[in-house]
Amino acid sequence: MSSIDILPSPEQTEIVDGLARVLTANGPGKTGIAEIAELGYLGANLPEEFGGFGLTIADEALLHIELGRTVADLRVLATLLAARLAAADGNTALCSELASGVRPVGFAMPVYGWPQDSAGPCGECYLLGDAGLYIALSPQGGSLVSADNITDRQAVESLDATASATRARVVSADAWSVGGAKHIWLVATIMAAAHAIGIGAAALAMGAEYAKVRVQFDKPIGAFQGIAHPLAECAMRSDAAQNQLYYAAIALRDGFEDAARQVTAAWLVAMDAGLRNATTNIQTHGAMGYSAETGAHLFLKRAVILRQLSGGVRLHERAMLAV
């Protein structure tokens, strides 16, 4: 029996629906990590013996689309990635702390990538989100950095609406770990891509809605091709990115030979959709979009953070040609 069906099944849709309802009711940028923990989603990707739901890569990617759509607390992404590292290490105590939300994880993000000659993350970085534990990511793997091993902290004004930002220095950390059967870098790449797809979809929906109700020159502005066509392009970018993400998630989950290439492709098209749909939405809103009133800026800020957080464009472009 042929089984070509890259789209989410009704069961998968059901898994994310509960979360999506809460996130939507809260609105963009309004859902904190504690609420996600209460809903039980924080350890959802942990195996059942570690107290999780045993969500697969593909299931989890669907969750991240919803989290991105409403610009949820950035630490949710970090904590879910950390849970995979902790589970791979067999660290059950940490797993249950992460799942319960008592130990939120933030990101430690380098300026241009971590030093390549080092066994783990070290040196200058930015910390994103208030946390006792930070996850550092590189193509070599992931590493959890305790707040005790971070010095020279200097708070800065944060670009991200949900996460504080601190300039700091990592003085010591565990060596890079690939995090089990699925390389944590590829997992982080696809989950960041999923977030960006949520961003792109939400920005498109917001822009299209505004184009129907905003009237200028006696017409809804959506009747002008200068507005309608860029929105049509957003729809095209979103559809392309979303389907590529589905394909890549299956490839990574089921260990396809070309999984790394599929994941990288998903990242490139997803970041493009996230960023460009966010700017199109701002442009559609005109001065309203330029003001912080509408919340259109949240999508743009999260999109650029996500791009940098998961390696930056050049790194993924090079990876796309490496295989």
Partner: protein, 390 residues
């Protein structure tokens, strides 16, 4: 969420791969408009017909391969992988006229025309566009007046692909003017040898003669050549649009992936100005990387359409997206191709000719059958619910 070909499908893929290795044309397809291209396309059609691949999208009852949508996808993936030619000038017959006759033609029309198409005996052309009728197809004006048992055609068609070689034309004519834009139109089979037809090939931007203008001066066509009923032409013309979408998307995405992979290989093997491979240029490499990712996304869009079809779900307005994505991505890839070629773009008769000619010829994918602008209008209206815009 699953991608798993059955053992039967994997076996089919092997069969297609083996057959293509042995039977795909050894020589390159001649340039459009040359008489040789007619023989080439018909010869390739005959070879496919003899192997049971005459029309992969047609049902078995009408001599088609009756392939499942997944097997159609496999067919097109293998065709592209083998760099085998597509249907070329057989496209109007295989992809449109044939399926239309299958859907609404009489038994007599089916029995007479379908075997000729399958066996590679005839080329069809399409007479839809007119000088005043491009994107706005409903504005077509060519008259066909009933006179006894015939319709008498007067007027002009244009952009008629392969018109100079065609035996038959699927023609939209106005049989009852003045009753509304999409009413009073009739879908007609016209024998291109009928007296009063004058065909003049037009040269395209790619220096070939892909299409023609066709003039009709009191051309008599028997009423028995009407397909789908007098005055139902608009509906008849649209009837096949949906069932060709999966095959079309599969065909285009497979070919596009193949083109990007070839281009990356070309950029790796050609030497740039600094003695390094062309691909060492960072900007060019970045573009190739993106285009490879986007080609992958186009395939995923095709798999998504197929997924819906496998579930038995009706396709929504999002089916309009892949073709526009394909057409616009193709333009970017073609431009990258020009940069990879460097000065070799000048020689239109070199072995690299397909990149330069392709750069020019493939512009048709953002113009023909609904321009990119019209497609954006449709997406904005049907998918996003925006007001109609012009």
């Amino acid at each position: 969420m699953r991608i798993e070909f059955s053992s039967e499908e994997r076996h089919f893929r092997e069969c297609v791969r083996d057959w293509l290795a042995d039977h795909k044309p050894k020589e390159k397809r001649p340039v459009n408009g040359s008489p040789a291209v007619r023989d080439f396309d018909l010869g390739w059609q005959k070879a496919k017909f003899e192997a049971g691949f005459g029309a992969v999208t047609w049902p078995k009852d009408y001599g088609g391969a009756g392939l499942s949508p997944v097997k159609q996808l496999i067919w097109f993936e293998e065709l592209a992988r083998a760099d085998a030619p597509d249907v070329g000038s057989l496209s109007p017959a295989i992809n449109h006229a044939g399926p239309t006759i299958i859907a609404v033609g009489t038994e007599g029309q089916k029995a007479f025309h379908l075997p000729q198409i399958l066996k590679g005996e005839v080329i069809w052309c399409q007479g839809f566009s007119e000088p005043g009728t491009g994107s706005d197809l409903g504005s077509l004006r060519m008259r066909a007046d009933i006179d006894g048992d015939d319709l008498v055609l007067n007027g002009q068609k244009i952009w008629t692909s392969y018109g100079q070689f065609a035996t038959y034309q699927e023609t939209l004519v106005r049989t009852e003017p003045g009753i509304g834009k999409h009413k009073g139109i009739t879908w007609l089979i016209v024998d291109m040898k009928t007296p009063g037809i004058d065909i003049r090939p037009l040269t395209t931007i790619a220096n070939d003669q892909h299409f023609c203008e066709v003039f009709y001066d009191n051309v008599r066509v028997p009423l028995t050549n009407v397909v789908g009923g007098l005055g139902n032409g608009w509906r008849t013309g649209m009837v096949t649009l949906n069932n060709e979408r999966t095959a079309g998307a599969a065909n285009h995405s497979a070919e596009l992936v193949h083109a990007v992979e070839e281009l990356i290989e070309l950029a790796r093997t050609r030497t740039g100005p600094d003695g390094r491979p062309v691909i060492a240029d960072e900007e060019l490499a970045a573009r190739l990387a993106r285009q490879r990712a986007e080609a992958s996304a186009l395939c995923a869009m095709t798999y998504a359409i197929l997924s819906k079809q496998n579930r038995g779900e009706q396709s929504g307005p999002e089916v309009a997206l892949p073709y526009l994505y394909f057409g616009e991505l193709l333009q970017r890839i073609r431009l990258t191709g020009m940069d990879v070629l460097g000065g070799d773009i000048v020689a239109l008769d070199s072995v690299l000719e397909k990149w330069t000619r392709g750069y020019l010829a493939d512009r048709l994918y953002v113009i023909a059958g609904g321009s990119a602008e019209v497609r954006r209008n449709i997406i904005a209206q049907t998918m996003l619910g925006l007001p109609r815009s012009y």
